[in-house]
Structure formats: C-alpha cells, structure tokens
C-alpha cells in the first residue's frame, strides 16, 4: 500500500516538474519503486528486468534524449481542455472496469483456476526445470515470447530508421574525454568484466532461479554502456561494431523462429520442444536453452544499438 502511494506521488511529480532533468531522475525512482513493488508481489523475474531497465537504462536514454531536446519543458503550449477530458474519461472507464474484477488474491478468481493449476501441476513432469516462470514463459507460452522478441526487434529497427547511426569519427571527444577520471576508469575496468560475466550467469541460470534472456540482455547492454561512458563512444564502436550488432539483433530473433521450424520439421507443432531430442524433457531443456539464447542476444544488441543511436545524436559521444 505504501509502495503504491509512493508510486502515485512519484508519477504526479514527473508530470508536474518543469525541469526535465529532475523529471528523469524521478522516473528512475519510479523504476526502483516499481521493482520493489514487483518483489513484494513475489514476481522476482519481472522485478529483475524492471530494476535493470527502469532504473538503469531508461533514465540514461532519457538523459541522452535531453541532450537533443533541451532541459526545460516548453511552456508555450496552451492548456488543452479536450486532452484533459479525454484522459479523465479514459481513466474513469478503467477504474470502473476494475470494479468488476475479483478481489486481489482471491482463491476462486478465474486467473487461479483453469490454466494456472494445470501449469503448476504438470510443469515439473513435462518441462522439469525448477523455475516455473521460465517454463511458462519459454515453453508453454513460447509463442507469446516470440512476439515479445519481435517487438524488441521492431523497436530497434524503428529507432535506427529515425536516428540513424552516424560515422562516429567527427564529433565525439575521443579517448581524451575521460583521462582525468582515474578512479572511475580503474573501478570500471574492475567491474565491467564482472558485469558481463554476471550477465552470462543470469542468462544460463534462468532455469534455476530468477533470470533468463531478457534480464541477461539488459545487464550485458548495461555493461557495454558503462564502458561507453568511461572510455568514449569511439573506443566502444571499435570494440562492439554497429554492423555486428545489427546482424546479432536479427540473428537472435531468427534463432528463436528457427527452433520453431525445426520442431515442425521434426514432426511436432511449431515451438513444441518435446520433439527436439529423444527424451521429451531433454527436448524441453534444449529448446528453452536455445530460445533464451536468442532472446538474450537480440535484447543485448537492441539495447546497445538504441544507446549508440541516442548517444550519437547528442553530439557528445556520451562521454
């Protein structure tokens, strides 16, 4: 309850603030509060992703956008009465719609009855991995997750169409940008390999604990973005080339779809992993491993590409 109240206050503060830099900082606080809210509801996988994205990458991208637009809100627009009425009507309809829903956490709610019971009872035998969230996400609802990865890929294609990557050699300050910041560079050199290693750990540990492809991709991208902030966009472009990233973003999605096609060829349904190996449970494990890899690759490549696109337009190289 306290967390919900804090979320509402934070959201109102974001709307009310004229200083967009402060609004971005409050948006980071909103991300942290959302992650705590998800933890308090026992949804640790979601909290993981929300903490990495909402409190890490998202404020950073917004700050890069502020470098393009300007720090203060443009107050020349007149107040629009029609938009206020529209927002109020939509909000009222949503609130009225929640009155028909069952009480929060009621045992006889339809969400806890038909399909959830079947997943909870059959997942240990059919899929056999301890983390039931991953088994639902990657196996039972694998088609939906394919759609999610396609959405991430489409988003990065859209961003690249709008903010195309420049040549990168003309405007950024170069490696001299961070020469004076010894503490940050040393600590960064210690931490960045560990961050990337942790991303790999989260990627392959998604079957046994909170984790999986989305979280691992975001953490990997955060490590590379930290490298960019410390050593400049030019060095990062030489290490992680944009052409490679574009290929990887498409490759992850292709890998995911290919698993489905291989299942079709092997005689099962699309994305039915049981036919991928001799033993159905082993087939499920193999299928989940490969599609999580595809998800992780696409998400990491997408995040880094979007950051490149924003940082390039800012003209500062992110340094």
């Amino acid at each position: 309850m306290t967390l919900l109240a804090l979320l509402v206050v934070t959201a109102l503060a974001i709307v009310w603030l004229r200083d967009l830099f402060a609004a971005v900082m409050v948006a980071g606080i909103y991300g942290l509060l959302s992650a705590s809210f998800f933890v308090s509801m026992d949804a640790v996988d979601v909290a993981f992703t929300e903490a990495a994205v909402g409190a890490g990458v998202f404020p950073l991208l917004m700050l890069a956008a502020l470098a393009i637009t300007g720090r203060y809100e443009d107050t020349r627009h007149k107040r629009q009465l029609s938009s206020l009425v529209l927002v109020l009507v939509t909000g009222a309809m949503l609130i009225v719609a929640t009155w028909d829903m069952p009480p929060f956490g009621a045992a006889d709610a339809p969400a806890h009855q038909h399909l959830a019971v079947r997943y909870i009872q059959d997942s240990p035998q059919e899929v056999g991995i301890p983390n039931m969230v991953t088994s639902v996400l990657a196996s039972y609802r694998g088609y939906d997750t394919l759609g999610e990865v396609a959405v991430v890929f489409t988003a990065v294609v859209g961003v690249l169409c709008l903010l195309s990557l420049g040549r990168g050699t003309t405007q950024s300050s170069g490696p001299a940008a961070m020469q004076g910041h010894v503490v940050l560079r040393v600590v960064g050199k210690i931490l960045i390999p560990l961050i990337l290693l942790f991303a790999l750990y989260v990627q392959f540990h998604g079957e046994y604990g909170p984790g999986g492809g989305f979280q691992a991709g975001v953490i990997f991208a955060a490590g590379i973005i930290l490298y960019t902030m410390l050593f400049g966009l030019d060095s990062t472009r030489r290490v992680v080339k944009p052409t490679l990233l574009r290929v990887l973003a498409a490759l992850g999605l292709l890998l995911y779809g290919s698993v489905g096609v291989v299942s079709l060829v092997a005689g099962g349904n699309f994305l039915d992993y049981s036919v991928l190996a001799g033993d159905p449970v082993a087939g499920q494990h193999l299928g989940i491993l490969v599609i999580e890899l595809g998800v992780g690759v696409t998400v990491a490549a997408a995040m880094i590409l979007i950051f490149y696109a924003f940082a390039d337009r800012g003209g500062d190289g992110g340094a």
């Binding site: 910041h181 503490v183 940050l184 600590v187 210690i190 931490l191």
Partner: protein, 117 residues
C-alpha cells in the same frame, strides 16, 4: 554461547545500520550545501548498507546465502564510494562552488532556501 554472541553482534550491527540510514536521510534533507548533502548520502550508501549486510551475514551462518551476501558486500563497498565520487566530480565539473564563509562574517543563506524552511 558463541551463537548468542553472534546473535547480539548481528543485532548491534543492524541497529547501527538503521541509525546511520536515519541520520543519512536527515542529513540529505537538512544540510545546507550540495557537498555536505552528498556526504550524508554517501555515508548511508556505503557504511549503513555495509553494516546491514554484515548483520545479515552473521545471521546467515555458513550457507550459500552467506557467500551471496559477502559478494554483495564487496560490490557495495566498491561501487558506492565510486558513485559518490562520480557525483561530486560532476558537481565540480559543472562549476558548483561549496558554501563558504569569510571569517568573522555570518554564513550566507543556502541556495534555494530563502527562509521558507
């Protein structure tokens, strides 16, 4: 006997951590200058978090949770002071001057608080 001592030590550590968090929050709200406020926030981030982690580690005993908490402790000890350093360096780079007073004269008003608080 040993378990009792460890229990008391962990409670003491947690209590110290809570006191430091409270004082850090109070400092962030009440100190007059950015540099004094970042000191209060830095104490909360590093020392208070470290003490709470040590308290939890003593409670955990020799389990996997102990190892994970120890790794989080090392991570916090490396990154929190670095974050505080980065913030202060950004302020210096942006040209923010600390609140200074000539000897014999009263303190100038802190920026942004013109008698409202």
């Amino acid at each position: 006997m040993m378990a009792l001592a460890i229990g008391y030590l962990s409670q003491l550590s947690l209590l110290l951590g809570i006191v430091l968090i409270f004082s850090g929050a109070l400092g962030v709200l009440r100190f007059p200058d950015f540099y004094t406020r970042i000191h209060a926030a830095g104490v909360t981030e590093t020392l208070a978090a470290g003490l709470i982690l040590v308290g939890l580690m003593l409670e955990a005993g020799w389990t996997l949770a102990f190892l994970k908490l120890a790794m989080i402790f090392v991570f916090v000890m490396i990154t929190s002071p670095t974050a505080t350093h980065a913030l202060t360096k950004a302020a210096v780079h942006g040209g923010l001057k600390p609140l200074e007073r000539e000897p014999g004269k009263p303190w100038p008003a802190p920026p942004g608080r013109d008698g409202n608080r």
